[in-house]
Point group: C2
Chain length 299, copies 2
């Protein structure tokens, strides 16, 4: 059987046909229409129907950014895609596509993909972080996506590690995401570099060239990533923390200080047990995870 996994982002929607084993056979990408629900739905159904022409699809799984209610299966808020507010994509699409449609928070779907098919294979308790523009997270506890009471759980990026710290997009201050993210790296770069670049990639390039300020930026960001990992280790005693996202192209520049700091802060036996690794599936974890959730729902 084949499934379609969809990963909705603020700028692009990625989708793919995925087999039972989590392999992507075919994939596509369209621009996100953020402010017009009808246009959003027609471009999305167009993309999915294109796949349906070539292969028989059992179910569609969709990862959606924002707070998705596990009770009503509607999207309560989606800051970057306002037209999805209070919308049930499952109901809107199932009628048109004639196959079962399930939704899940995008970071939870990505965590599930990485758990089943990626770095997390064989673990039972795993935390997945995506360090991109923001800091996404999903918790796999006892082999299942942890959703909390209403489906809003696992917003680790919005836990405070610096009271009265940097303002966060969520309205709070000092969230992990204000430091450990591409956005956070740029702010730290303005604090530590004389001519701070305007993209996190350029900060990374400068660090690779040995720029002292840029190296300090990664050291500082890595330290906070390590504090974040330590908090997760003491909270969950997980088998693994897998970290993906565009910023992780910097690899050891972040992971080395992160592991060092986590070792300092976390309980020894819990730290020793927890692998802190780069994800294997990024940037496909979301598409694969959403498809696997669709597979599970059907079976």
């Amino acid at each position: 059987m084949y499934y379609i996994g969809v990963d909705i982002g603020g700028t692009a929607i990625k989708a793919g046909v995925v087999d039972d084993a989590g392999r992507i056979l075919e994939s596509g990408r369209i621009q996100t229409v953020a402010n017009d629900l009808d246009a959003f739905l027609s471009t999305l159904t167009g993309l999915i129907r294109g796949f349906q022409k070539s292969v028989r699809i059992g179910a569609v799984g969709i990862g959606v950014p924002g707070l998705r209610s596990s009770k009503t299966r509607t999207i309560e808020t989606s800051p970057n895609i306002p037209c999805l507010t209070k919308v049930s994509l499952e109901a809107e699409l199932a009628d048109q596509l004639k196959v079962p449609v399930i939704t899940q928070n995008d970071a939870n779907a990505a965590a599930y993909g990485e758990f089943l098919i990626g770095a997390g294979q064989g673990t039972r308790h795993m935390v997945h972080l995506t360090v991109g523009t923001g800091l996404g997270s999903g918790f796999i506890l006892d082999g299942k996506v942890f959703e909390g009471a209403l489906g809003y759980a696992a917003e680790f990026g919005h836990t405070v590690v610096q009271p009265d710290g940097r303002p966060c997009t969520c309205g709070s201050r000092g969230c992990v995401e204000t430091i450990v993210s591409a956005t956070g790296i740029l702010i730290t770069a303005r604090e530590k570099m004389i001519d701070a670049p305007s993209t996190s990639e350029a900060v990374f390039e400068a660090a690779r060239r040995g720029d002292r300020g840029a190296l300090e930026v990664f050291e500082e960001t890595g330290k906070y990533l390590g504090i974040a990992c330590s908090n997760l280790i003491n909270l969950f005693n997980p088998d693994m923390i897998a970290i993906g996202g565009g910023v992780m192209a910097s690899g050891g520049l972040l992971l080395a200080p992160a592991r060092r700091e986590a070792r300092k802060c976390a309980f020894g036996p819990s730290f020793d047990h927890c692998a802190i690794v780069q994800s294997k599936l990024w940037p496909e974890a979301g598409v694969i995870g959403a498809a696997m959730l669709a597979r599970d729902r059907l079976n």
Copy 2:
């Protein structure tokens, strides 16, 4: 059927005979012997055998401070009771008492008691905090004690909220426990009061009398308790955070600023869903929870 619940603390061991419904019928208390395992075991078996004389006991549940391995069922480390290190209380006691004995981390046992019989009745996802000398915590997720991979989970008191902050007994710095605890209150009192008292109870008395410095201490501690609650709300989207422990005698002095700060920091829909309340069973939650875990194991 009747069960014995035991709550081992650094200075005293409390125990009680508990019925199927979680009611304590009889209770007792002995001093903890921290450095001599034989003496520890003989005083504990003496206490339990005393109960066994008057009523037929089905099983014994014991809450133990420190890291308890869910794999080997031994206590890996117990900083305040060194003689328990690498000891399997289950094996040591079951032979002598002729009934099944189960152990659990003490904060997890207390969380389970509060969940089943106390404030948490009817919830599915609940966090239990005990604000005493330190900050204990237990997570009830999907109606069960969450233990993590090896049994070391739920050490929320040792998550960092103030990088490079106050040194913590765990070896790290800036853990929530360094601020939100009786110990933390005394340190904050030395920062904010001219003649800082030497006990947290005296700081509370001063606050009740309207001492401005003491009121500031509770305002600050409550603010951090609120940040802590906000982190828990965004992480777990729980139905309830129940807070017990000696420090909570101060009630609204901590809870009012805590709720205010949590509202500011947490996601609105998740905050609105989560009751932040005082525990109902403290100081008996540990005894009751341990007995209920023994009941569950038997049935």
